[in-house]
């Protein structure tokens, strides 16, 4: 049992690996959105409460299980109870789905990174139309950043049914992304342990630089004031609490088996309680830090757009009434408008429909999350900064580091059970297993580089992991507390680390956290059932904006299959073990 298992060279590598895995793209593009939607500064209250009540206990549980069992997720849960082998398999299946679609984000980050070395940045100008008298029509209707994302990067089709062909440019970037991941996981903890120094620390350097730059941008304070003004009435909104719980849950990456895999390479005497607290606090602080940066950038972008809008109105009025150039300014705009309305009523009423009401609040309120935030909103802000190439390179390099860090955890979750299994590791060396996993994932991931690929990406992003993970972690917590026995686990931990288990952890594991997960699970199920047919946002090239469409039946079937294939592993695993035991007992009985 105790052959030479590869270990982390220092406990610091383990902490960095966990931080690098937990601090991912969600901290940068999901938390600021949630903060904005659910009350700004007051969102921090449910967030911190959920961190203490749900995040830390569950993180400690996974790390402790991994460190105690010293195996990947399949082996660890099988050791706790043979009926739980399905839980480990479910974790591996979910990690497999995640790694399939997550690396596409790294491919897009590579694409933007390579395109940042041009002057002007390709997403800052629209391409010209056929006879060079104006700009491309789709680009005029949308904006140049949206055009570059939807047309040049994704080459998106109008609906999910029209799959189109595989786009070779994103496909090349995807292959490169997988090669890079393979390079990092090639030698197991030996190579991963060194890479995580970079993937954990570099994003913080870039965030610091961006913080300084962001705070000195014109209009940054507007964004910050808007975000941090607490809207206390949101505390009564149950959705705020549910989203806080969900964010903590997914941000820490619980249930994928990556944390168990990382912890299994620890020395048994490692103090994982201390590491739990460190990792979870660093993860949440990074979220808050990243949202300060994001909101100063938002404020800059909103102020820039607001001022452009005002300038357009000024130009319109100056041209229509032949006023002296430079006479109309932002400060006297309102008075002059009322003067013109009274002095030239007929002409003013002609021009009036074209005058847009410019409002800073409405610019700030356009809350965006996900790939839209990272690749459209941020690039729009970057193109207006000085030396935009430098800021662009820094930003996409940071996204790449965050993404690769999370991918290391995902692949570790898949590879550790595979390399632990004696059957597979006797036939193939570690490098070959890693290579095979990367190859299979890359081949399937090419689906996301097709013209309709982004729609499939959204399906995977929204449904592949959410429900299954809640179920997995619920079964994990209940299993450790009631199947394995909390007292037995407590004595195991005491023997292993030398510290007694604090009552707080016991209380959380035994009662509060499972109840919380059950309520989250019930909420999500009822939400899915109530909304009925699922819809998605499709890009309409003729209008230059997103439109809502219904999923076709086969897409719904695939979504259902995604969720079922991971959740069904748990009961099927238990059933399988039960049948095998029954048969064995039947055999021994017949022999006797």
């Amino acid at each position: 049992m105790d052959e030479a298992r590869p270990l982390w060279a220092t406990p610091l590598q383990f902490v960095f690996a966990c931080i690098s895995y937990a601090v991912g793209l969600g901290n940068v593009w999901r938390f600021p959105y949630l903060c904005q939607m659910y009350g700004g500064g007051s969102f921090l209250v449910p967030y911190i409460i959920m961190l203490a009540v749900e995040g830390m206990p569950l993180l400690y549980l996974e790390l402790a299980v991994g460190q105690r069992m010293r195996q990947g997720s399949i082996g660890a849960w099988r050791t706790i109870s043979p009926y739980l082998s399905g839980v480990g398999v479910a974790s591996v299946v979910v990690s497999f789905f995640l790694s399939m679609y997550y690396n596409v984000i790294n491919a897009w980050a590579f694409w933007y990174l390579f395109h940042s070395f041009q002057d002007p940045l390709p997403w800052s100008v629209c391409p010209l139309n056929g006879n060079r008298t104006g700009y491309d029509e789709e680009c005029e209707k949308a904006s140049s950043t949206q055009y570059f994302w939807y047309r040049k990067t994704l080459n998106i089709s109008p609906s999910i049914q029209e799959s189109g062909a595989v786009q070779w440019e994103p496909a090349l970037c995807l292959i490169l992304a997988w090669l890079l991941v393979y390079l990092c996981i090639l030698r197991g903890t030996e190579s991963t342990g060194k890479v995580v120094y970079f993937t954990a620390l570099l994003p913080y350097c870039v965030l610091m630089i961006y913080l300084v730059r962001g705070l000195t941008l014109h209009g940054a304070t507007n964004g910050l004031a808007y975000m941090f003004t607490p809207k206390v009435e949101q505390l009564a909104n149950p959705k705020a609490w549910i989203n806080a719980a969900t964010q903590i849950f997914f941000s820490l990456g619980l249930g994928f088996g990556s944390l168990i895999a990382f912890a299994s390479y620890n020395e048994p005497s490692n103090d994982c309680q201390k590491h739990t607290v460190i990792v979870s606090i660093i993860n949440s602080s990074t979220s808050i830090f990243a949202s300060v940066v994001t909101f100063s950038i938002y404020g800059f972008k909103a102020t820039f757009n607001y001022e452009s809008c005002l300038n357009k109105v000024i130009l319109l009025l100056t041209n229509s009434f032949d006023l002296e150039d430079g006479f109309l300014t932002v400060s006297n705009l309102e008075e002059v408008k009322s003067y013109l309305a009274s002095a030239y009523p007929s002409k003013y009423s002609e021009v009036f429909p074209q005058i847009k009401n410019c409002s800073l609040e409405s610019e700030l309120e356009t809350a965006v999350q996900g790939t839209g935030l990272a690749f459209i909103v941020y690039t729009e802000a970057i193109k207006n900064m000085e030396v935009s190439q430098l800021w662009s390179v820094l930003y996409f390099f940071m996204l790449l580091m965050l993404g690769i860090g999370s991918m290391l955890g995902n692949t570790a979750a898949i590879l550790t059970p595979l390399t632990d299994s004696k059957v597979i590791s006797s036939y193939l060396p570690k490098e070959a297993i890693s290579g095979l996993v990367c190859l299979v994932n890359c081949a399937i991931g090419l689906v996301f580089t097709m013209e309709a690929g982004n729609y499939w990406f959204d399906i995977f992003n929204d449904y592949a992991a959410t429900l299954s993970l809640l179920l997995i972690v619920l079964v994990e917590t209940v299993a450790v507390c009631y199947l394995y026995g909390l007292r037995r686990f407590e004595s195991d931990l005491k023997a292993m680390t030398g510290h007694a288990l604090n009552w707080y952890w016991k209380a959380m594991w035994g009662g509060v956290s499972p109840l919380l997960i059950i309520s989250l699970f019930v909420f999500y199920l009822s939400d899915y059932i109530i909304t009925g047919t699922l819809q998605y946002q499709a890009w309409d090239a003729s209008q230059g904006q997103l439109v809502t469409k219904d999923y076709p039946p086969y897409a719904l079937a695939i979504t259902g299959l995604l969720v079922a294939s991971s959740t069904m592993c748990i009961p099927l695993g238990a059933l399988g073990t039960f049948i095998v035991r029954h048969l064995k007992r039947g055999d021994t009985a017949s022999v006797a």
Binding site: F110, Q118, L183, R187, E324, D325
Partner: protein, 207 residues
Amino acid sequence: MLWLLFVLVTAIHADLCQPDAENAFKVRLSLRTALGDKAYAWDTNEEYLFKAMVAFSMRRVPNREATEISHVLLCNVTQRVSFWFVVTDPSRNHTLPAVEVQSAIRMNRNRINNAFFLNDQTLEFLRIPSTLAPPTDPSVPIWIIIFGVVFCIVIVATMLLILSGIRQRRRSASLEFLQISGTRESLTSLGASCLTSCLHGAPTSNL
């Protein structure tokens, strides 16, 4: 008599150059936007320069080499600064067709802009679209070059790691073999010494 002729001529001219007249174009300048503090005042001298530039553009059109500055008429100058202009033929009775004027201005747009330190956005000819500069397209897109560099580095590093891993494994396998064969030798020599000592009845306590 002369005075009557003058009035007649200006009247005819006034007829030819009017807002929305046939073959007339509106021009709009945004001096303060373009030049800020260095903006010059728009006076009759600037208007003369403008007429000169238009006449110059027309002279470069085949069959219109005889266009003079006096053939270009300006009217309705506002504070904006904006005005209308027409180009008349040598007889001064008819205006030149809009299509000719349009193509002439388009060809020489850059020189007209430069004469006034303005650009396409700040010196606007309404109804005359400007030809936009095409973006410079290098023969090999830049991103592919950078992609190629990063790709090669990653492949080389991967190959190095794999090869060194294989070499390490071979070395440790041969080391193990040496150890095992070494142990076997020492065991056989130990057995032989035991046999001789046993035969001679020597104590084996020092083993």
